[in-house]
Symmetry: C2
Subunit: 459 residues, 2 copies
């Protein structure tokens, strides 16, 4: 008789696990059932801001594989609009609620993949029935916001609360849709995903675009009229608005896991081993935005919800369930984004992270250009490097620039992954041609500057 794999969550991690398992084990060997509470499978959450802005059409465009494809090509029994509400590890079964038809079903499993994703952080003031307040995590969240923006009368003013990636990307998206946008940030500065000196460049660019940025400001409540949001109440008065988007980050969706007794780690996310097994829980796997993983630089467990990790982790789980061997060996915190034409890339530790992890370090900021200085279209590029003292080992890097900047982080990410020192990095053989780099690539210039800083510090 066939074994049975149950997948909780039909997005990147869950469906990557399911498809990889199927590649290695056919239906006679492994039945696969996937429960998804939303309307979509395997979509790009990261693409939602670009759908909101109108840069890409959606939501179908954002779906890599729809339920029908999984059913037909992968022989996976995808149950849409089904929310798993309980996991019984002793009886080896899950209970799922049919959100459309009502009622519950129970399904037994031999193997279980927990891929319940993450949920947007929603402070007390946002836990309300007032309409027009949106978290941004799922494609359903995006669809709800799109509907709201297209409702009559059309919203003209938006407040984005929180200035991380999602907040910044949503601010741009709403601006591109023609709304007047205010970004409210509790800290001194939004874009804390990079250090303050680098974030300053992003903030300037956002202001130039016309985003109103209010910093050091906490939201305490909402104003409403007829059940619709009309304003955001802050310590400095009320900011009138027709829509509120929460950009306060996400938390791993672990309620169900905790109820079932799955172990959570220090980050609050589900613990997994390198093969994506939940420790001490035979036959149970977890992957994606609900799990924590090793940060290879700090050595600490971290929760980094990002599609690229979710895909890799799901694939690893699926290969292992399929009888193969694969490991997920951690992350180094690489991320890229853009604010209109301004590109931002980061990898490794920020100064604050490095300090928190106990490292002694130097940090340098090098100004350069994307192309040879004389080549048309050359634009400023700022590269920041953080290197351990005295070893010189790279701990982190950040890049901000107007073109060909974001993905330059990849070379730095691979250097970091391999534990290179900044001294070793000055020798790197990177691509050089006038349309693509100065004869000393910005990355090399920064590495040289870091070497100098290490020597000065020791002298």
């Amino acid at each position: 008789m066939a074994q049975r794999l149950i997948v909780i969550g039909g997005n990147a991690a869950g469906m990557a696990a399911a498809s990889q398992a199927r590649r290695r084990r056919d239906r006679a060997d492994l039945e696969i059932v996937a429960f998804e509470r939303g309307h979509f499978t395997s979509y790009s959450s990261c693409g939602i801001p670009y759908w909101i802005s109108g840069t890409v059409s959606g939501p179908e465009e954002l779906v890599a594989r729809d339920p029908e494809t999984f059913r037909r090509r992968f022989d996976i029994d995808v149950r849409m609009r089904h929310e798993v509400v309980a996991i019984d590890l002793d009886r080896r079964e899950v209970t799922a609620r049919d959100l459309v038809g009502g009622g519950e079903v129970r399904e037994r499993f031999d193997e279980l993949v927990y891929a319940a994703g993450a949920v947007p952080l929603r402070p007390a003031w946002a836990q309300t029935d007032v309409e027009g307040v949106f978290g941004m995590q799922t494609l359903d969240d995006g669809a709800a916001l799109r509907d709201w923006l297209e409702s009559d009368p059309a919203p003209r003013r938006a407040v984005v609360v929180g200035g991380g990636y999602i907040g910044v990307e949503m601010a741009e998206a709403l601006l591109l849709r023609g709304l007047s946008v205010t970004l409210v940030e509790q800290a001194d500065q939004p874009m804390s995903t990079v250090d303050g000196d680098m974030a300053e460049l992003v903030v300037e660019a956002m202001r130039d675009l016309g985003v109103h940025i209010r910093t050091g400001l906490s939201v305490s409540g909402l104003e409403e009229r007829d059940g619709r949001v009309r304003g955001v109440v802050t310590g400095e008065g009320t900011i009138p608005t027709d829509v509120v988007v929460l950009g306060l980050g996400v938390r791993p969706n672990t309620d169900l896991a905790a109820d079932a007794g799955l172990p959570l780690g220090p980050s609050g996310a589900v613990r997994v081993d390198r093969r994506m097994r939940v420790p001490d829980t035979p036959g149970v796997w977890a992957a994606g935005d609900c799990v924590e993983c090793l940060h290879r630089v700090s050595g600490m467990p971290v929760h980094v919800p990002l599609g690229t990790h979710a895909n890799k982790q799901g694939r690893v789980a699926g290969i292992n369930i399929g009888g193969g061997y694969a490991t997920f060996t951690g992350v180094i915190g690489t991320a890229v984004t853009k604010v209109c034409d301004l590109e931002v890339g980061r990898t490794g530790l920020r100064e604050t992270d490095a300090r928190a992890a106990g490292f002694d370090f130097v940090s340098v900021v090098a100004e350069s250009t994307s192309r040879a200085g004389y080549y048309p279209g050359t634009r400023p590029m700022t590269v920041k490097l953080i290197a351990e003292r005295p070893s010189g080992r790279l701990l982190g890097a950040q890049i901000v620039g107007w073109s060909e900047a974001a993905k330059r982080i990849d070379g730095l990410a691979v250097a970091l992954w391999n534990g290179m020192t900044v001294d070793e990095m000055t020798a790197l053989d990177l691509g050089y041609a006038p349309p693509y780099a100065p004869v000393w690539d910005p990355v090399l210039i920064a590495a040289r500057k870091a070497v100098d800083a290490l020597h000065d510090g020791a002298g």
Copy 2:
């Protein structure tokens, strides 16, 4: 009494050495004299095609630092239009000819930097007084071609002989200037800097641009009228032309070095140790397009004339002459170029190189896109990886694509530099956001495909 440093060649390597030495030793400690036979110091040879095309203005734009700057800011006695014609190692002096005023001078040295660069390969048929035939290596070469193109009657047809980087870039440049361009290549295909399957993509793009490409064709002579070139004689008839550009590569400029008894290596270029010292020749250093260096993947000495290496090598020599410590640890053959909007990057060994070096390997070609499939402006990208069998160690990589392709080679170059296996590479934490990459970056897709190929091969 101050010591004396003589630098032969005032381009990237020589002047980087001079300036680095000056940073560490002042004039009272070290006099520096640099001889340059041409009209320019420290310029971008790689920028010449873009000057020819009119994309950048020149020649001043291409000069990073002019002689006056070296004199004033670095206290370096730069002697322009002086060609060193002899090195006497016993007497520790060089003889230089004044190409303008006539006559010769002798100058003693304590330290000598040999940075004489490279000279374009010029087959017997091109060793002629016929006007309108140009090698492309120095800014003076570029100036001569510019003058010719602007002469009256203006040349309308061009033949580029040889399809390496310079040939391909010059073909594009001449086309952009409005000439009808024929590229003559002796081999089956131009652009042999990448493997044939990848070169095919470049050739298609060049044909689409309107470059006439004639392959498998050797040039045997020139036709002339009134001392000006009128045609290129080949085995398949004469190709009429008003100008001939040689793109047959360069050879290290070693005549002077060989006369002086400096050791040449198997590549034909000057041998140096890791600190850029000429072995067994105290006080003599060499750097730039005239030296050979270690290819870190094949382990063989290679001659790779490229501005980025010249700068690094010159810097290393200068730091060491200045009393510091620096090494040049070799190259891995990274290079990028473009043909109009088509971008090409490579690093490490091609299939032919890998075979010649004795490696067993698999190679895979993966088709993907530069951005998320749904994101506007996404374009096809082809990534080829060559991995050692059975170890899986990356040996080489090539990328061809229409945008954001060339510099993606950097991540691969750093992976190669660090000896990563393709299996390890599938785990790399590269930058992901829809405007910059699919959720599986093209590099990761290729790595996965290479892993599969290794396993299939072993199965």
